[in-house]
């Protein structure tokens, strides 16, 4: 009798496995027809954010216009204004060698990593004026970072196009990473 019960239970388990396989097949087919299918290779929320941020800074949907660029005089006033958040879009080794006093490093090169590191500061900066700079001259990193920030909902973002070059050449104070 025990053997018969065990055999019966075995049949039930086999049927259950078949049901599970059928369910998975249904799920995969339904997923195929979704407008936003679930990727079969799961990525955690942190991994998805990192990917989105990296893609965003490469080609931000929002672009900086001429009206959103500022010269050295306006940039000096912005740096002196405690409300303004100044961001350095250069790679971190350049930032550490020397940067505008008070500037935080949000590099284009490692945007996702730096964005996550500065999350707490940035979360409270949505309404603050922000100015981004990079090397200056032909450097576009500041515009890409600024465009990414605008796409992420930051409302007041400007670019100091003269960049680090103009700041240094003007003999203004520099800070170094401790």
């Amino acid at each position: 009798m025990a053997f018969a019960a065990a055999r019966e239970f075995g049949h039930q388990l086999a049927s259950l496995c078949l049901l599970a396989a059928l369910s998975l097949a249904c799920g995969l087919v339904l997923n195929r027809f979704r407008s936003a299918p679930l990727p079969l290779l799961y990525r955690t929320p942190e991994q998805r954010l990192e990917r989105q941020l990296s893609e965003l800074v490469k080609n931000p949907p929002f672009r900086i216009t001429l009206e959103e660029t500022i010269g050295l005089g306006d940039f000096q006033r912005a740096v002196a204004d405690r409300r303004t958040l100044v961001l350095d879009a250069r790679p971190s080794p350049f930032y550490e060698e020397g940067h505008v006093p008070g500037a935080l490093n949000l590099s284009r090169e490692n945007f996702a990593r730096d964005f996550r590191r500065l999350q707490t500061v940035l979360r409270h900066a949505k309404e603050r004026p922000i100015v981004v700079y990079c090397s200056g001259g032909s450097c576009h990193d500041s515009k890409l970072v600024a465009g990414a920030l605008l796409s992420l909902g930051f409302t007041s973002v400007k670019v100091f196009t003269g960049g680090w070059e103009e700041w240094k050449n003007a003999g203004l104070t520099v800070s170094r990473h401790p």
Binding site: L24, C26, L30, N31, L38, L40, P45
Partner: protein, 132 residues
């Protein structure tokens, strides 16, 4: 009555997960039990499994297998929730769609799931004595 109620619960549980498979996948991953490689497969397979088992229970077809499926599913969720609580994780069970995440909510979910385990066990035992 218990069979139909259990079936309805599982149909509802499956239906709430169909709408947002990503949220359900995030819930599964947050328990840190299953490797990431299996998370999407579970997130896609569990809702139809629950819905099919629930429907079979309501209709009264293949009762024993459907009841066993419901029992295995709810025991698995309960054990996962217990494990998360024991490890100090604060997670969203995702059992009936996504919701607030807190230890209190997890404990309430545990009590609810234990009640469903008992109902599922009774339905399974009963379906064995009154075979469809």
């Amino acid at each position: 009555m218990a069979r139909i109620s259990l079936g309805a619960i599982f149909i509802y549980a499956g239906a709430t997960k169909f709408g947002d498979p990503l949220a359900f996948a995030d819930s599964i991953a947050s328990f840190k039990i299953v490797p990431n490689a299996l998370v999407s497969l579970l997130a896609l397979g569990i809702p139809p499994f629950e819905t099919i088992c629930g429907s079979l229970l309501v209709i009264g077809l293949w009762r024993q297998v459907a009841a066993l499926g419901a029992l295995v599913a709810i025991v698995t969720f309960t054990v996962a929730l217990l494990s998360a609580l024991a490890r100090g994780l604060v997670v969203d069970c995702g059992c009936f769609g996504s919701g607030l995440v807190s230890v209190t909510r997890m404990r309430l979910d545990l009590v609810r799931d234990l009640a469903i385990v008992m109902i599922a066990a009774l339905v399974y035992a009963d379906s064995g004595t009154t075979r469809a």
